[in-house]
């Protein structure tokens, strides 16, 4: 067992019970304020001119006619902001507007600020750009094999290198070839994960306001106010102290708003030129072009096992189709291999990952960044291996469980690990033992597992400062004010700090106010990505709140002449533990503290533990203070006549450490499973080819043709929370927002195999793709229910296992 005594608390009153989101009522009644809801006197509207070519040199830009149009206040081009930026400090390869080269259809080349949107649009048509088209790269293999005879998507950093390669990672742990050769069974497979995009309901939006005397304010629908703050200052050559970024409520992001975008720089620069506030709101089409969604992955896996079903060796080769810019691609390339090493024991592992540039919208992080694709391939590999050795796939996974308080083969530190409980939970709830290989032809169940990080252990730009922080004030009214640096994108982090403040200080939840997302007034938190917020912000909030609690306990204890530790703060009261009838309303307790210590405020922060990673180049990438674990069982009904896969139900068991608010955790579990389901069954960010209109043109940048599941398509989802009480997380909590996406896709693939004996190794499982596979299987005579395993899964314990 992990040393998690600190978090094995039974005294929690609010934490762990269902609570409202503090902004829930405002959202559900339409009063919540998003960036586009903001309006300022004299505000101008901006539009961005985008490239109609996938790869071209900009020969000249003539903006004179646009500038002369009545109502136009400013026109800018790449030359106005000639500084490269990029979310990863080692790969800055973007300009706010293209300087001399465009790299995909939709790349921004100029921007206009005008009195209204229609005037701005009319002005765009008056901008004359002369392009010299260049041969484009669309196929990642062609990009990887390019010889420089035509210009690379980006100049090579060193003479003689292929400029199309963003990053290559080759890492090997243990004796891969030797153990593979010694394996009783080896399964080899090629897998393809089609690209998908985030499709948040709210399009990107930003407003810039230059005050005329040197200060810039930008409101943005961003996930990363802090990184935006830094990049705005750098690109616009301002002191960071003169830049203020505000984050209104965000209408969904899922990784698609986790780096700076052209519109944020453009509204800032246009406001600096015009002296008036400038707003840009993306169209839905622009959201598809800005993308940064899931990379298409071409994957080859070789996986070995012993005859009794123990993994011996894993060998992976992965090609990532990155699109036009690096984005988070350096990290994605590492994640494509680094995050696979749990929850199963892998004696030897090698991965060889290459990310290339192509002339398509840039790929980046989407919920489950970099690890959803390999997990899809690997969990199918496990299913195939289990079948080969005659083991039930749940039993196979149990046998390879890595355990807790251990290190993975790539030296990542694992602490709490509730994966076995997750397997038990889905096995029990789904009725696995009576369904697997036993349902009628066409019906089937599949299982898959996964792990994910609870935040990156190391920040994007190297520094020793806290990853997350809050400032807290209490006063004589009983009110608690929290200044939170965190990024609220709908996941509920404002609510989480409020729950923690109320828990620790004993006030009603309604007395807690959260001010968040204002870089002038809130402490630094690095942003909402990598499932880091609840974990890190939660610890920071506990830190700040417990400092204040100690002051209040001290003041009350002095008044009562008792020991400070005997004073409890709970449910609106300060209470003496030995005799709970001795009590004081919490506001009076705060008065005593304010009288004794003066105005009451504290700061709290969190930084990650060291030595949780591997001692090799890249060994810090993938390291996290804690890992979540998930298992899914999916049940499907396949129509072999049409190829339609109906997912009837997904059972989602997730080890989130501790559910601070089980309703929010279930929401994340269901949302994740839904998103994975959509990627499995229908979503694909694809492009026209030379035979279909124009190569590199987005297939259809709209929510009509980029199909995401409607409520009618969505399967029943059952969330099964597993609590392993992590030693490091706040009250033992770990992430819940990304991990539960991973197993959806392979669980559905494995269920299709159970239903009709057809392996789906390429995504998505659209009816036409499934129909083609069924047709091939029919010809091959393999369209039959697979045989059951010799070794069935042992029945799980009857009662759910709770760690405390």
């Amino acid at each position: 067992m992990s040393d998690n005594g600190r978090n094995r608390r039974s005294d929690l009153r609010l934490i762990g019970s269902p609570q409202r989101k503090i902004e829930g009522l405002a959202k559900s009644t339409g009063r919540a304020v998003y960036t586009d809801d903001l309006d300022f006197a004299g505000m101008l509207h901006g539009k961005i001119l985008r490239s109609p070519h996938p790869h071209a040199r900009i020969v000249s830009i003539d903006t004179a006619a646009a500038e002369a149009l009545e109502g136009v206040h400013a026109v800018i081009t790449g030359a106005d902001m000639p500084t490269r930026y990029g979310i990863i400090p080692w790969t800055p390869d973007e300009y706010p507007l293209c300087l001399d080269r465009v790299r995909y259809i939709g790349d921004g080349v100029a921007a206009v600020a005008a009195l209204d949107e229609d005037t701005a649009l009319a002005a765009l048509e008056l901008i004359d750009v002369e392009y010299e088209e260049l041969p484009p790269f669309f196929d990642p293999r062609a990009a990887a094999e390019a010889d420089g005879s035509t210009p690379y998507v980006h100049e090579a950093k060193k003479e003689g290198r292929n400029g199309n390669v963003t990053k290559m990672v080759h890492l090997e742990f243990g004796e891969v070839d030797k153990r593979m050769d010694a394996s009783d069974v080896v399964v080899e497979g090629d897998y393809f994960f089609e690209g998908t995009t985030h499709a948040p309901i709210e399009p990107h939006c930003a407003i810039g306001l230059w005050d005329g005397v040197g200060r810039l304010t930008v409101w943005s629908a961003t996930q990363v106010p802090h990184y935006l703050h830094r990049e705005l200052a750098r690109v616009l050559e301002l002191d960071q102290a003169d830049v203020r970024v505000l984050q209104p409520l965000v209408g969904g992001a899922f990784g698609g708003k986790s780096e700076p975008f052209d519109l944020e720089f453009c509204v800032a620069k246009l406001s600096m030129i015009t002296g008036r506030p400038v707003k840009i709101l993306y169209t839905r089409e622009e959201v598809f072009y800005s993308h940064r969604g899931r990379h298409p992955f071409h994957m080859r896996y070789r996986t070995g096992a012993t005859a009794d079903g123990r993994l011996t060796s894993v060998d992976a080769e992965i090609l990532l189709d990155g699109g036009a810019y690096a984005s988070f691609g350096l990290v994605t390339t590492y994640y494509s291999g680094q995050l696979l090493c749990a929850p199963y024991e892998m004696p030897a592992y090698r991965f060889d990952s290459t990310r290339v540039y192509t002339n398509k919208p840039a790929c980046g992080p989407k919920r489950g960044h970099g690890s959803v694709q390999p997990r899809f391939a690997f969990e199918i590999q496990l299913d195939k291996l289990a079948e080969r050795v005659g083991l039930d796939p749940i039993e196979f996974r149990r046998r390879n469980f890595i355990g807790e308080d251990t290190r993975t083969v790539n030296e990542l530190r694992i602490t709490s690990n509730g994966f076995l409980e997750c397997l038990d939970a889905v096995q029990r709830a789904s009725g696995w033992n009576r369904k697997f290989r036993s349902m009628p032809f066409g019906r089937g169940v599949g299982v898959a597992g996964s792990t994910y990080i609870s935040g990156t252990n190391y920040p994007i730009y190297p520094n020793e400062m806290p990853q997350s922080a809050v400032q807290m004030q209490i006063d004589r009214s009983g009110r608690v004010a929290v200044f939170s640096g965190a990024s609220e994108i709908g996941q509920g982090c404002d609510s989480v700090v409020a729950y923690i403040a109320a828990e620790e200080l004993g006030v009603p939840l309604e007395w807690v106010r959260v001010l968040r997302g204002d870089t002038d007034f809130t402490p630094v938190d690095l942003g909402a990505y990598s499932s880091r917020v609840t974990f890190m912000l939660g610890n920071a909030a506990i830190d700040a709140a417990s400092k204040l609690r100690a002051l209040v306990q001290d003041a009350v204890a002095e008044q009562w002449d008792v020991g400070a530790s005997s004073v409890l703060l709970a449910d609106g009261w300060a209470v003496w533990a030995p005799d709970t009838s001795r009590r004081l309303p919490i506001a009076e307790a705060f008065n005593l503290a304010e009288a004794k210590f003066g105005t009451l405020g504290s700061t709290g922060w969190y930084n990650t533990p060291k030595d949780v990673h591997g001692e090799y180049r890249g060994g810090t990438i993938g390291a996290s203070p804690a890992y979540s674990f998930t298992a899914h069982v999916a049940e499907v009904d396949v129509d072999v006549e049409t190829g339609f896969v109906e997912v009837k139900k997904i059972w989602v068991a997730h080890d989130c450490g501790r559910a601070l608010n089980p309703v929010l955790v279930e929401g994340q579990m269901e949302g994740s499973a839904y998103m994975g389901f959509g990627e499995a069954i229908m979503e694909e960010q694809v492009f026209k080819d030379a035979d279909h209109g124009r190569e590199g043109l987005h297939n259809a940048p709209s929510l009509l043709d980029y199909r995401i599941p409607t409520s009618l398509d969505t399967p029943e989802l059952e969330s099964l929370i597993v609590e392993s009480i992590d030693p490091e997380g706040p009250y033992g909590a770990k992430e819940a927002g990304e991990g539960p996406l991973h197993p959806s896709i392979p669980a559905i693939a494995n269920a299709i195999y159970d239903a009709i004996g057809v392996r789906m190794d390429r995504l998505p499982f659209t009816p036409s793709n499934v129909w083609r596979s069924i047709r091939d299987a029919r010809v091959a005579g393999s369209l039959v229910k697979p045989d059951g395993p010799q070794v069935k899964a042992t029945a799980p314990a009857e009662e759910p296992i709770h760690a405390d």
Binding site: L121, L281, T283, E285, G693, P701, S768, W771, R772
Partner: protein, 327 residues
């Protein structure tokens, strides 16, 4: 958000008023009913009329009722109301079902039956933004001179994509068109023409005022099957409507219409000859499906795998016939 081009909105209160406005503004004006097709198309700059003449306030276009041996459905009756109408459901269940399969609930509350009958054809190279079409180099149907689907020829093959016309055709429905010169009736079977640019016989100044379905058609057993990837919102990848007249257990008449292929719905040929006088059993259904499959060739005007869509012709014909048998 995509911007609408500027236009002036007129709301006449009579059919004569609507026709008079159209006479006044000519080709600068377009009629609009529910707007669920036209308004997105305007945002895509496929149409940029200076004037929109709203038909929602025109009393001649409302209501569902019987008249002269027909069920008369006013053109501006919403699809939601068609789907819910007892008069429709009891006689023409396939029409109610087709109406209920158009788009999603909000769009059915606004979109009208007349609008669905007059729905503009759709194509992956056409129903896109102005920027996208510019990057493509435009197409035959709008602003260009190339068809990206066929790559040769000067004929637009944009797909007829409406859900209700196939059913209406199998029921021998007639539409009434009112123009400056008076009214005319056109059988729905003759209404569509094989030209993706303008695929109906309605003249630009005519208003489709009502849809008439012979009450006799209610004796036919009807079936309707729509292929789409999602259970809501999506346009049809394929729609099959069938109507069977039985005498005893013998087929007396049989009609089948498929759409989602080319510019107009395709009435399946040779069905009557195969089926007349026979029992509608599994063997006959297989033969009919085979016959339909031979005639239907989906194109890449819709972005979904044409081979699969072709294979689905037979499957969905069978499913539509199965519904007719069970009716």
């Amino acid at each position: 958000m995509l911007r609408l081009p500027p236009f002036r909105y007129h709301r006449p209160t009579s059919l004569a008023g609507a026709l008079s406005l159209k006479g006044e503004f000519g080709s600068d004006a377009m009629y609009v009913a529910g707007g669920t097709d036209l308004i997105p198309n305007m945002k895509h700059r496929l149409f940029e009329p200076d004037h929109l003449i709203a038909l929602k306030g025109v009393p001649e276009l409302v209501g569902i009722g019987e008249r002269d041996g027909h069920l008369r459905i006013g053109a501006s009756v919403t699809l939601a109301d068609v789907a819910a109408s007892e008069a429709v459901r009891s006689r023409f269940p396939a029409l109610a079902e087709a109406a209920a399969h158009v788009a999603g609930p909000q769009l059915r509350n606004s979109g009208t039956l007349g609008g669905n009958v007059c729905l503009d054809t759709r194509c992956t190279y056409y129903n896109q933004t102005a920027f996208w079409r510019g990057a493509l180099g435009y197409c035959l149907k709008k602003d260009g001179d190339v068809c990206h689907v066929t790559k040769v020829g000067k004929k637009c093959v944009a797909a007829h994509s409406a859900d209700t016309p196939p059913v209406l055709m199998t029921l021998d429905a007639v539409v009434v068109l009112a123009g400056p010169g008076g009214e005319r009736r056109v059988s729905l079977a003759d209404f569509f023409v094989a030209d993706g640019i303008l695929n109906t016989q309605r003249e630009p100044d005519e208003v489709l005022t009502e849809i008439l379905i012979p009450l006799d058609s209610a004796t036919r057993r009807q079936g309707y099957a729509k292929l789409r990837q999602r259970k809501s919102i999506d346009f049809p990848l394929l729609t099959v409507a069938v109507a069977v007249g039985l005498e005893g257990d013998r087929v007396q008449s049989l009609d089948g219409v498929v759409t989602g292929l080319g510019a107009r719905p395709r009435r399946l040929t040779g069905w009557q000859e195969i089926a007349e006088g026979r029992a509608l059993d599994d063997g006959l259904v297989e033969e009919l499906a085979e016959r339909a499959h031979k005639q239907c060739h989906p194109l890449e005007n819709i972005i979904v795998d044409p081979d699969w869509r072709r294979a689905m012709v037979a499957v969905y014909v069978k499913r539509a016939l199965a519904k007719a048998r069970a009716a």
